[in-house]
Amino acid sequence: MTPPFGSHRGAVRFLWPAAVALLSGLLLLLIALPVVGLLFSASPRELLAGLADPLVIPALRLSVFTTTLSLLLILACGTPLAWVIARRTGRGWRILETIVELPVVLPPAVAGVALLLAFGRRGLLGPALGGAGIGIPFTRAAVVFAQTFVAAPFYLQAAVAAFRRLDPDLVLVARTLGASRPRVLGAVAIPLSWSGLAGGAAMSWARALGEFGATLMFAGNMSGRTQTLPLAIYTALESDLHAAQSLSILLVVVAFVLLVAVRAGARR
């Protein structure tokens, strides 16, 4: 007589690989097919012609400008913040850590509303800013605000994790050798956390580059002023599909190169 387990095992041995192949194949198809469609559904000449669309150059320029600014802002303010969060142990700091990670899970539309309610004309800081003659919404500054809001957490998370991996003895020894706290950060902590910080910066920049929803709501969609690459794609879709496609391929290539670089950096 065959033991009951044996027959089950026979069925599982046959069915399990088939099920795995089917399920993972479905998901792979769903992920890969749109990329394939993007890359191969137009001829190179059509794609090049798409890049000549008048929307393209201003959007490209604006995206490079605003994401660079956002990234600099995130690095300059996020590095000290991540260092403090990584070094402190109090409960207040854990709560703060959770708060700064919130934008990662926030729907972009919510981020747009939240930014308007903070910096909009009728928002929290609206009267103060208005009194000083400053209007943030629907300007380039708003684009940078939106990008920074959604992208900063990616850098912060990576930087906090990298700083936590640092041997605390090194920090203490550096200070006994006379190094001030800024020097410890600049000469010991940052060089030793370099790959983690660079990976976080790359992810953060990719997120800023792709920012769409919050920018649309908070900064608008004005060509040459607030229309970044993702917004230009959205606009071009109505008039010139090939322009949308060319810009999309450009973003895919940039994202792919970044991903490969980050993974190579993480492996080192």
Partner: protein, 235 residues
């Protein structure tokens, strides 16, 4: 008034810590079982952990004084520190490590002083190496050179020989004892090893459960151990 004068009271978790001693010249041996609060006491002296009250005075200069609200930051205390794993900066070569704490302005002068500090511990040949390429004994020499190059007024060493292989420990012990005697600045050496205490030939204080249970010369501790731990240490 020269020397290191310490009286610190505080807590480490549930443990109450009360440590007082005065030392100058000969190294002070700081012994005690794991979890007795030795590391926390060192941190209080260095300024990495704030005592509840007490004072830390170095060559007459108050570094910490609970009553007078004096609390100098770590980098202003001029106390050299060697952690158990020595804590060399892995991203700098040996020369860069030793030069890190040298305040001298021109770069050439810093490099000259760093090379000299390495020569002083017979490690001049290691200048261009990376910390990862050093043996245990070499790492310790470099860490000592680095601490000394910063011209500290006192030195704290946390189990300086524990990370070494038994084969090199004896040589390094002799080397360390000779150098500490030659440098002759107030020094505290944490150790569990009777052989270390013997070689260093200074006063011994024993910390158990946060409080000092015995102090004196090693010979006195051996003759009249106050606790089972001291008997084991001295035995």
């Amino acid at each position: 008034m020269t020397g290191l004068d310490v009286e610190v009271h505080g807590t480490a978790g549930a443990l109450a810590i009360d440590v007082s001693f005065r030392t100058s010249g000969a190294p002070l041996v700081f012994a005690g079982p794991n979890g007795a609060g030795k590391t926390r006491a060192l941190m209080m002296i260095l300024g990495a952990s704030r005592p509840a009250r007490g004072h830390v005075t170095l060559d007459g200069v108050p570094l910490y004084d609970g009553a007078r609200a004096v609390d100098l930051p770590i980098e202003a205390r001029r106390i050299g520190f060697l952690p158990q794993r020595y804590g060399l900066f892995p991203h700098l070569d040996v020369l860069g490590n030793v030069a890190f704490g040298i305040a001298a302005a021109p770069r050439v002068e810093r490099v000259r002083l760093a090379r000299q500090a390495l020569e002083d511990v017979d490690a001049g040949a290691l200048a261009d190496r990376r910390p990862a390429e050093l043996s245990g004994g070499e790492t310790q020499r470099v860490a000592l050179a680095r601490a000394l190059a910063a011209r500290p007024r006192a030195l704290l060493l946390d189990e300086p020989l524990a990370a070494l292989d038994v084969s090199v420990r004896r040589d390094m012990r002799r080397f360390l004892a000779a150098r500490l005697r030659a440098w002759s600045i107030p020094t505290v050496v944490v150790t569990h090893d009777r052989a270390d205490a013997e070689a260093l030939d200074g006063d011994v204080i024993v910390l158990e459960n946060g409080a000092i249970t015995q102090r004196g010369r090693l010979a006195d501790l051996t003759a009249h151990p106050a606790t089972p731990f001291v008997r084991e240490l001295a035995g």
